[in-house]
């Protein structure tokens, strides 16, 4: 078990800079999730940690050791690939034991350790099969087995669940969390799925365009998004981001208004310089509720029933759409005129540059 320290990490492909200076500390035993949209650099960063991509600039420490120039095989890391990358000509047993075979571990010892790992992952019955004879979930297990048998300091997962169906993904998510609890190892997990990030991580690193946007626990990110990108990326359904004008501001809060929003107050300290300017109001759909007379009114354009909650899209007269997640038991129908209100303490304001106020 080892921690990691990334200082000023850069990655260039020729003139194109894909990782633009990342500073990050990962504690031993932490489950860290790198999350971000496609092309944000999360997989590249993971591969740089693995030793599969060269580091253009900055320092990578695994434990106490600087690993920039250390070969992948000597870094003490194991990786589960998105494609699983199982050796198609070897049985599951040979796949799992391949690293030990290369390390010269005697056959009997190897077989014993493979069985042990297979027992932990409940795949003893699959050991004789080749990858072509395994389902997606079973291949996933073999790939994880291959990673854990070497008892690495750090586990790396590159979107390991993205090829599984929805139900299996939920099962494997829980299983990985359990595995982390059992092994207590440092794990770094890459995904573009913010639900995976929220459910599994001790710490989430949100990346966009090669830069860290925010680092924090899932609830920190959910409750206190640092900027518009994080606000829009974390949380499902997405946060409503609405352009509003600051009418008045002091330390205790601000008065805001917009064509679709009756003048209202939020409890965010806003610099007085912003009075009269446009900012972005962020309200999570779950904090909006139906009220007799709320600051936002409009007609229901869409109802998505999920059972315990219903997502409704309310179109205001000013043409602005607002999404709200309401109790699934409340009976609403299309074109019904409704009024929405929210707790001013749970509203977020983002300044003209997109950073949190």
């Amino acid at each position: 078990m080892a921690g990691l320290q990334l200082s000023g990490i850069h990655k260039n492909y020729g003139p194109v800079e894909v990782i633009k200076g990342i500073d990050l500390a990962i504690e031993p035993g932490e489950f860290v999730v790198f999350v971000g949209p496609s092309g944000c650099g999360k997989s590249t960063l993971l591969r740089m940690i693995a030793g599969l991509e060269e580091i253009t600039g900055g320092t990578l420490r695994i434990g106490e050791r600087v690993c920039n120039k250390v070969a992948a095989r000597d870094r003490g890391v194991a990786m589960v690939f998105q494609s699983y990358a199982l050796y198609p000509h070897m049985t599951a047993e040979e796949n799992v034991g391949f690293g030990l075979r290369l390390a010269g571990v005697p056959k009997a010892e190897r077989a014993r350790r493979v069985r042990e790992v297979a027992r932990v992952l409940q795949m003893e019955h699959l050991l004789e099969r080749k990858p072509g004879q395994l389902s997606g979930g079973q291949r996933q297990r073999v790939a994880i087995g291959r990673a854990i048998i070497r008892k690495p300091d750090v586990f790396l997962f590159d979107e390991p669940l993205s090829n599984l169906d929805a139900a299996l993904r939920v099962d494997m998510r829980m299983e990985l969390s359990r595995l982390h609890a059992d092994l207590g190892a440092t794990m770094i997990y890459v995904t573009h799925d913010q639900v995976e990030a929220m459910t599994m991580a001790d710490k989430i690193v949100v990346l966009d365009q090669g830069r860290v946007q925010q680092v924090g626990t899932p609830m920190e990110l959910y409750n206190m998004p640092a900027n518009l990108f994080v606000a829009g990326f974390i949380g499902a359904p997405k946060m409503n981001l609405l352009r509003v004008r600051i009418d008045a501001a002091d330390r205790a809060g601000a008065a805001i208004s917009a064509p679709f929003l009756r003048a209202t107050e939020v409890r965010t300290s806003v610099p007085s310089a912003l009075v009269g300017q446009e900012v972005t109001l962020g309200i999570r759909p779950h904090t909006l509720e139906l009220r007799a007379s709320g600051p936002i009114s409009g007609s229901i354009r869409l109802v998505e029933r999920l059972g315990d909650t219903s997502i409704i899209e309310v179109a205001t007269q000013a043409g602005q759409s607002v999404f709200a997640a309401i109790d699934g038991d409340i009976d609403v129908e299309l074109n019904q005129v409704v009024s929405l209100g929210f707790d001013p303490a749970k509203a977020h304001l983002f300044g003209p540059e997109g950073t949190r106020l």
Binding site: G51, F81, A85, F98
Partner: protein, 286 residues
């Protein structure tokens, strides 16, 4: 009616090929088999002899000697081209600047006519003025009489055949290498594998189906080798390079024993078909 037309359409598409195949390959094969059952001279058939041509061949020491020579040639040529083409393909599979140039260079001999290549190599192997012996002299090594030495002549011919066809085998193998996903090598690297171990544990096993194709193709080529032998050694020295095709040529075009020549052709075909079948069966099972 339209259903019938739909059913006939595929045949229409393959029709031109089938016609060419029938005229230039199918008919000659059948004709050769037919001829092999006859005493057939330069002016045509002299009568049906059944398996007589085959019986006389099997009783002829020259036939067995040339079959042995052909086998020796195959035993030299097939392993040589397998090893060289796999090594070259792996080396050429890297992404290095200018690698395309090397790939083209190894492929180029394929477009050179075998007669041209054989004449060029005959000069290179020439004992007095040949480039190869000149290089040996520069290195202070003794001269070799390549094509005049029974042991060396077959090897020299194998080298020329290798030069001519290694590029094609490399192209086939490169296609096979392209199909091995990069992440397998990355996973192996993280498992602690060195580049040499990668080659033996990942590349070779996954390339096996393509190597089988290369092996079958080169075996077929070995049993059909002719142009190089005809131009460079004419079967000599002392019959040491008289392969089956050379014997076929001698019987057919020097002795005008067309029936015997056809029988040799049929035997070569049967040997190649049988060996190919055995190889496919053997490797498929594994």
């Amino acid at each position: 009616m339209s259903q019938l037309r739909a059913r006939l359409f595929p045949y229409l598409l393959v029709g031109p090929y089938l016609a060419v195949f029938a005229v230039f390959i199918g008919y000659p094969i059948v004709r050769a088999i037919y001829i092999s059952f006859h005493d057939w001279g330069i002016f045509g058939p002299n009568g049906f002899v059944g398996l007589g041509n085959y019986a006389s061949l099997f009783a002829d020491a020259r036939f067995w000697s040339s079959l042995l020579t052909t086998t020796q040639f195959a035993l030299i040529f097939v392993p040589m081209i397998m090893v060289v083409s796999v090594v070259l393909a792996v080396l050429l599979h890297r992404t290095l600047p200018g690698i395309g140039l090397f790939r083209t260079a190894f492929f180029l001999p394929l477009v050179v006519n075998v007669a041209v290549a054989s004449i060029a190599f005959k000069w290179l192997f020439e004992p007095q003025a040949g480039t190869i012996n000149q290089v040996l002299r520069l290195l202070r090594l003794p001269d070799q009489t390549w094509l005049a030495e029974p042991g060396w002549a077959l090897i020299a011919i194998a080298l020329i055949a290798l030069w001519g066809s290694v590029g094609f085998m490399v192209i086939i193998l490169l296609a096979g290498l392209e199909n091995i996903p990069d992440d397998l090598y990355e996973a192996a690297e993280l498992d602690g594998s060195t580049p040499i171990q990668n080659f033996f544990f990942i590349t070779l096993p996954l390339l096996k189906p393509i190597m089988l194709i290369v092996m079958v193709l080169s075996l077929i080529q070995a049993f059909q080798v002719f142009g190089e032998v005809l131009i460079m050694t004419q079967g000599g020295p002392f019959g040491s390079t008289e392969v089956l095709t050379m014997l076929l040529y001698e019987e057919g075009f020097r002795n005008f024993a067309i029936g015997r020549a056809a029988a040799i052709g049929v035997i070569i075909t049967i040997i190649i078909a049988a060996l190919s079948l055995v190889q496919f069966r053997f490797f498929r099972q594994r």
